[in-house]
Amino acid sequence: MRVLLVEDDAMLLDGMRLGLKMHGFQVEAVSLLGDAEPALRATHFDAVVLDIMLPDGSGLDLLRQLRARGDATPVLLLTARDAVEDRVEGLDLGADDYLGKPFDLDEVAARLRAIGRRAQGRPTPQLTWGALVLDPARRDVTLHGSRIALSRREFAVLEVLMERPGVILSREELQERLYGWLDDVESNAIEVHIHKLRHKLGRDAIRTLRGIGYRMGDPLA
């Protein structure tokens, strides 16, 4: 999942970036509302972790703006303002979840996965495609019950493809979801990952449509 983190406390920002990365998220971080706005307009994010008390304004204003223009990106409010009224206000303004500080890192990860699932209309946590089962929480993939070892990037590509099994994703889209702004991406990085995945899962696991993109092949028997 690609997550935008909006938090002004430097230590918290760094810690969350590292922690969420360890949980398999792709994290971009900003510390001002003024930077969050353009980031959200420029790229797609699977979720936003939003602090309310920011130096240049209230995170709730950003939330309002997002919802006003019809942006349905899931938002998790993470803030020290923890009274019931604050939670109710945040949720009613369009937030999908609300956590107070201090929080548990694992809980944040789980909640992010949950709101990601809801946004995709997926009730079950695991992604299943035939005999292939991908567990986003445990970061593992099994085929016919036996575990398949995948690198972090391979897992990420497979996860994106399995989230929307019938949808064709272009190379650029895959790159966008996998890599951060600061990452150096080789032009054929995606092809390499797809190739490796096919090697581990079977040739027909992923279908290439030349000039358009990739998608999951027929469900594996």
């Binding site: 406390d9 430097a10 230590m11 918290l12 760094d14 810690g15 969350m16 590292l18 922690g19 360890m22 130096p55 240049d56 020290a80 303002r81 923890d82 107070g100 500080k101 201090p102 929080f103 548990d104 890192l105 694992d106």
Partner: protein
């Protein structure tokens, strides 16, 4: 006198008694005068009457003298006493005398009134002289008898009045007690209040005289409530401010536990130390602020400005910046508590250093400006956006250019300490970039006049 009731009672009782006494005295004096006048008048009338009787030549002087006596019994409503009448002929023989009149000559005067002593007793005498016949008619009142009449009249008035006095006293007591009842009721209302109840009392149904006191009480209650609200807000704020560093701490601990490389773990643990240090500084600042709020202002001392700055530099050793003291400050007295002074300066310097980019110097300089001692701290940081200038003294305020480890309390502490010390803070952006934070302390007036 510690009792309003007793005080009122005493004042009223004394006043009433004085008035009563004055009244009675006036009655006595006036009655005396009126009586004298009336009796003198009677003397005169009787004298003239007797004279005209004698003149007529038909009446024997003795009979005439007796007639005088019977005349004196005139009206029944008037005083009853007997006058004495003497009729002396030209040769000095007593030719007529009313019954009971003395034998000595009442008076030796010609026409008119006189006060004489006859024997041991004072008399009031009226004389009519008939120059033709040479007779002298003397009509006199024994003054002691007059006094008896006066006494009778006065007593007749005073005794009932005296009987009224205790009645008056009782009435005054009742009136005072009743009048002071609203105070008792107000006291009851106050006593029934719960200790935490700081709502205003309602002065509407209290008597006008007591209202100022209750209004003062109300304003005191209001200030208490405000101060408590401030305290609660402050506590809530402080607790709130700790949550973000605590979240960072917890996070780093989880990262340390989940780290897959030793380097990551070490980095997380280091971050934990940093977070704890930050929170320690925050707690220290909170305690400082709380003490500034709570304690009374320490007594000001008159200190030499230059010595004060030297002392402060010693306390803050090592000074994070050079302190430039203008020579004109030697011998200039200021009134300030050195502890509050150095607390303010320390916070301003910390703020300046945090804001300054590495390698840029913070300059701290002191000089005299008219009747103020000015200590200016100058940095080359980003300064403060004009829109934020009015907010920077607020607690927990962190602006655009906040530093990583700051709490938003440094300037609030400096401001509170400076105000408590009797001075003030001023902030300005420098045209060349950066901030000037100035501490202003009033210089002792004598020195101001001397220069």
């Amino acid at each position: 006198m510690r009792s309003i009731r007793a005080r009122l009672m005493t004042i009223l009782a004394v006043a009433t008694t004085i008035i009563w006494l004055c009244g009675v005295s006036w009655i006595a004096v006036h009655t005396q005068r009126e009586l004298d006048r009336m009796l003198d008048q009677r003397l005169g009338e009787v004298g003239r009457m007797v004279n005209s009787l004698l003149r007529s030549g038909e009446i024997d002087p003795m009979v005439a003298a007796d007639a005088a006596m019977s005349m004196s019994q005139g009206s029944e409503s008037g005083p009853r006493n007997f006058i004495s009448c003497q009729i002396w002929d030209a040769e000095g023989r007593l030719i007529g005398r009313s019954g009971g009149a003395p034998l000595e000559e009442l008076a030796s005067i010609g026409n008119g009134f006189a006060d004489t002593m006859v024997g041991e007793q004072p008399w009031r005498v009226f004389a009519v002289v008939d120059a033709v016949r040479g007779t002298r008619i003397l009509i006199g009142d024994n003054l002691e008898e007059r006094q008896a009449i006066v006494r009778q009249v006065v007593l007749g008035l005073v005794v009932p009045a005296a009987a009224l006095l205790p009645l008056l006293a009782a009435l005054i007591w009742l009136a005072v007690s009743h009048g002071l009842r609203p105070l008792d009721m107000a006291a009851t209302v106050l006593r029934q209040r719960k200790p935490a109840d700081l709502a205003p009392l309602s002065p509407a149904d209290l008597p006008v005289e007591v209202r100022p006191m209750f209004q003062a009480l109300d304003s005191l209650l209001e200030r208490l409530a405000e101060s408590r609200a401030q305290e609660q807000t402050f506590t809530a704020f402080a607790a709130h401010e700790l949550r973000t560093p605590l979240a960072g701490l917890r996070l780093q601990a989880q990262l340390a536990m989940a780290a897959d490389t030793e380097a990551t773990r070490q980095s997380a643990l280091k971050q934990i130390i940093v977070a704890v240090d930050r929170m320690t500084a925050l707690v220290r600042q909170l305690l400082e602020l709380s003490r500034l709020d709570g304690e009374a202002a320490p007594p000001e001392r008159s200190v030499d400005a230059a010595e004060l700055l030297d002392e402060t530099a010693r306390r803050m050793h090592p000074m994070p910046c050079a302190l430039q003291v203008a020579p004109s400050l030697r011998g200039v007295p200021v009134r300030v508590d050195p502890g509050l002074f150095s607390m303010t300066l320390r916070n301003l310097l910390e703020n300046a250093i945090q804001q300054s980019p590495a390698g840029e110097e913070v300059v701290c300089e002191a000089h005299r400006d008219a009747d103020h001692l000015v200590i200016a701290v100058r940095d080359r940081g980003p300064g403060i956006p004009p829109a934020e200038l009015q907010h920077i003294r607020k607690r927990f305020f962190r602006g655009r250019h906040k530093s990583a480890g700051g709490s938003g309390l440094g300037l609030a502490i400096a401001d509170a300490a400076m105000r408590k010390a009797g001075g003030m803070l001023r902030f300005r952006n420098r045209p060349e970039g950066g901030l000037v934070a100035e501490m202003l302390l009033p210089v002792e007036p004598e020195a101001a006049r001397a220069s």
